[in-house]
């Protein structure tokens, strides 16, 4: 067996610091409390951070966030290269070990990658870390040469004192620099001096991805490793009742059969094929348990009922209900958004080596600290005895923000003493997801005789992810994510009422899904804004423009998108354009989508125009890639996807029943970026959140049919 763990030299090396190396423990000022959610880890202070490592291997960024494909390894390296005066290719990137005291995301209050917060979190602290390191290194060189540090300059990692014709690399002076006190409040470069930030730097991770040399969790090989695959009860809460162990053990190469909670079975083999054959031979029978009668219809019927009762009030201004009742034009609607699966291309997997006194895990996770704790809790080992080797991820979209899979792996493999790679088949992955919640929205609005929106109400009904994932952020019955972009809109609003009804679906686990709350709420709000325009015979663009008197950044992206999309120009029959406008993840985005209804009565995506103001742009190519990827991810789901249940079990099992928008079906996409000096906003999920509303509005423009439930394929059927 080849040990490929070290094949990514200089990319994702082990997290053990080489002896004799210098770690500049950078003291960073504590950041102001962000508006993000607090979590149970609130007591962990944002104190000394260690992001820069200089040793004989070079200059390394110890990366607090994880790479799921969004390009954060490259853009965060750009932040650091800027202040360290390096070329991007001089900097190595290494995954940070689990350590909340150093690597906590100050918006998420966890060592987590999600919610499009990475650049917003790292924008200041990584530049400060790098600038602090540079000042210490220059200070050490100047002291050695007995010259004024201000007379020194740095170019590509080498410090020069031109007058005395002396120079030193960072590495050569690192040991001296480590003896200096860490300065506080270091000045950062003026943006006019940026050499790296704002450039179209090539991603650092592409070369390894085109030749098979990068290692994802799925690719891990450790000496002595065995392979396993598993079957989990098809219905949440179910139990196995019968299995043919003898038949499984008769399969050549099968080593062991392990179970967890009477609800999951794994077969361990010398070979993945042996494990798979063994699992099939088990012929497991299941008892569905209390959720055996669950269907989507039963879930939705309950939501319809509970959504008729008042929820927890989020926003209540100027008696919106009364205003609507007395308005000359009033309208109301129910919108429904389905359960959705993450289904990243890399199926779930976890490699574990549990020993008596320690454990080691190799997994791609968005939450390394939770991963460490999960293994510690199940094994009874102290967390510091659990080594987490975080891996590149073949996509995540929120799925790897949960550690249910790691907990299950630890339960199954608790008593094995050899390393095992446990792989979920696509079917096990898709049918045991933590799904994007089903949401049931009741909305109403009143407009005056001039067609001005004078009152709006919005009741969101659905699962609370925060209540489970970060209970501290679920305060007074309010889930801030569930109502994000529903209670607040970019528009001028006088009378607004928004409330939230928490309803947990029986037998369904729910979690974060790319675009989170904003994705579902923007579909509702932006579709309903279009309904208001239609009801008062106004152009959807003009209607929105008139309500943006206090939001110049939102108006600017809307105007730019409208101009580039040629809004108002005559279209051939069967075509339509739809708008979606948002302020989400700290970014402003307008999306105008053009579609065509083909002769076969199918929807063809023609052209997608996105205008985005995400503040200072670190790498314009990354912004484009995330806008394109986000909108395709959102369109794919809006057009085709839903997770349904029959007798408590998920109906969709693989990509044949959970369709992905194909390359030949993608629209032409144009992304326009507004130059801005504002602090960066998030981009990884913004495109996804802008997809469904624009699609529904375009369908309406083309056909006159209003889409109030997704997916489109079903709504049009």
């Amino acid at each position: 067996m080849i040990n490929n763990l070290h094949s990514r030299r200089g990319f994702l090396k082990g997290t053990v610091l080489a002896t004799g190396g210098l770690v500049l423990a950078v003291q960073l000022p504590r950041m102001g409390r962000a508006t993000g959610p607090a979590s149970s880890s609130e007591e962990a202070a944002f104190t000394p951070n260690a992001f820069v490592k200089i040793d004989e291997n070079g200059i390394t960024l110890i990366m607090p966030h994880t790479e799921v494909g969004q390009g954060i390894y490259t853009s965060s390296a750009m932040l650091m290269a800027e202040e360290l005066e390096l070329r991007l290719d001089q900097l190595k990137v290494e995954a940070a070990p689990p350590d909340l005291s150093k690597y906590m995301d100050p918006i998420l209050y966890d060592q987590a990658t999600g919610g499009s917060t990475s650049t917003r979190s790292d924008w200041m602290r990584l530049r400060q870390a790098a600038a602090t390191a540079r000042i210490m290194l220059v200070g050490a060189a100047a002291a050695k040469w007995r010259v004024d540090p201000a007379q020194c300059r740095v170019h590509e990692g080498t410090i020069y004192h031109d007058a005395s014709n002396q120079s030193s690399t960072y590495y050569d002076i690192a040991a001296e620099a480590a003896k200096l006190p860490v300065p506080a409040d270091v000045p950062l470069k003026d943006p006019s001096q940026f050499k790296v930030i704002g450039t179209r730097a090539k991603r650092l991770d592409t070369p390894g991805k085109v030749n098979g040399s990068v290692v994802y969790g799925m690719d891990i090989r450790v000496p002595g490793m065995k392979y396993a695959t598993l079957a989990i009860s098809p219905v949440t809460g179910g139990r196995f009742t019968k299995m043919n162990e003898a038949a499984a053990r008769a399969v050549k190469g099968v080593l062991d059969i392990v179970t967890a909670d009477n609800a999951a079975v794994a077969v361990i083999g010398e070979h993945m094929w042996a494990a798979k054959q063994g699992l099939d031979a088990l012929n497991i029978e299941w008892d569905a348990g209390e959720n055996g009668a669950v269907t989507v219809d039963t879930i939705v019927a309950k939501m319809d009922q509970v959504s008729q009762q008042p929820g927890v009030v989020i926003r209540d201004e100027n008696k919106a209900v009364d205003v609507i009742a007395n308005a000359p034009t009033k309208l109301s609607a129910i919108y429904r958004s389905p359960f959705l699966s993450h289904s990243p291309m890399e199926p779930l997997n976890c490699t574990l080596h549990i020993q008596d006194d320690r454990a080691e895990v190799w997994v791609g996770t968005q939450v390394p600290v939770r991963t460490q704790k999960a293994v510690a809790d199940i094994t009874g080992l102290p967390p510091e005895k659990v080594t987490v080797n975080n891996q590149l991820m073949g996509g995540a979209f929120g799925r790897r923000l949960d550690v249910d899979t790691i907990e299950l792996a630890a339960k199954l493999l608790k008593d094995t003493r050899y390393p095992v790679k446990l792989v979920w088949t696509r079917e096990q992955d898709m049918t045991h997801d933590y799904y994007r919640p089903y949401y049931y929205d009741r909305v109403a609005a009143g407009l005056d005789k001039d067609g001005r929106m004078i009152g709006r109400t919005h009741r969101v009904t659905g699962s609370s992810i925060f209540a489970r994932w970060a209970p501290a952020a679920f305060k007074n019955g309010i889930d801030p994510d569930a109502v994000d972009c529903a209670s607040e809109t970019p528009y001028d609003e006088e009378a607004v009422f928004a409330d939230y009804v928490r309803d947990e679906p029986a037998g369904v686990n729910t979690s974060w899904w790319r675009g989170v709350g904003a994705t579902h709420n923007l579909f509702v709000v932006e579709s309903f804004v279009d309904e208001m325009a239609t009801a008062t015979k106004q152009d959807p663009l003009e209607f929105r423009r008139k309500m943006l008197t206090k939001n110049p950044r939102a108006l600017a992206v809307l105007n730019l998108a409208a101009e580039k999309a040629g809004w108002g120009q005559a279209l051939p029959p069967g075509r339509g354009k739809g708008i979606s406008l948002q302020v989400a993840f700290g970014s402003y985005l307008a999306h105008i989508l053009e579609i065509e209804i083909t002769d076969e009565k199918e929807v063809r995506l023609v052209r997608s125009v996105i205008a985005v103001d995400c503040g200072v742009v670190i790498n314009p190519d990354t912004v484009v890639a995330q806008m394109e990827g986000g909108v395709i991810f959102g369109l794919s789901s809006a057009m085709f996807n839903q997770v349904t249940f029959t007798d408590g079990a998920v109906d969709q099992t693989n990509f044949d029943t959970y369709r992905v928008l194909r390359i030949n079906e993608a629209p032409k996409i144009e992304v326009y970026q507004i130059k801005s000096g504002e602090a960066p906003g998030g981009v990884g999920e913004a495109g996804t959140a802008a997809a469904a509303g624009a699609l529904g509005n375009a369908i309406f423009a083309a056909t006159g049919k209003r889409i109030r439930s997704l997916p489109l394929a079903e709504a049009l059927a």
Binding site: V210, N211, G212, H271, E346, L661, R662, I663, G687
Partner: protein, 179 residues
Amino acid sequence: MTLPVCFSLNVNDAVESVEASPETPLLYILRNDLSLNGPKYGCGLGECGACAVLIDGRAVRSCTVPLGAVGARRVITLEGLGTPERLHPVQAAFIDEAAAQCGYCLNGMIIATAALLNRNTDPDEDAIREALRHHLCRCGTHMEILAAVRRAVAYAKVERARRSTLDGVSPKAAKEVSP
């Protein structure tokens, strides 16, 4: 389940011996027995294309090809396509277009493009989209991948022109110019 048999495979221009039952999908042999990471497990159904390899120059889904059906045919995986020093034109094009997000689907995208260029040296946009339509990408890298394939077509043309120039050089002349 049939008993394991010893098979001789031609993978990346090396002869490899493996002992396995003939119905074992080729993907499992490549990943488990030969420690190759290029071909990826994505669906096991031939739906996503992440496991694609070239067999005699044509793209096939290794998760649906039984070992016993491979025979002596030439199997090329992503690892065998080029080297870091001498990239295959398709690999070079994907790097230059930064056409990877998570990158897990990229094996299939690159293999499919290499196979396309093997059968059609000058594919138009429709031929490109047709060649890739059965390869799934979840990140939504569709635009960058299409751009990379267009670029790969151009790179392959340059590569062919370079080769035909070399082919035109006589052995004697070649000897004279070599150091």
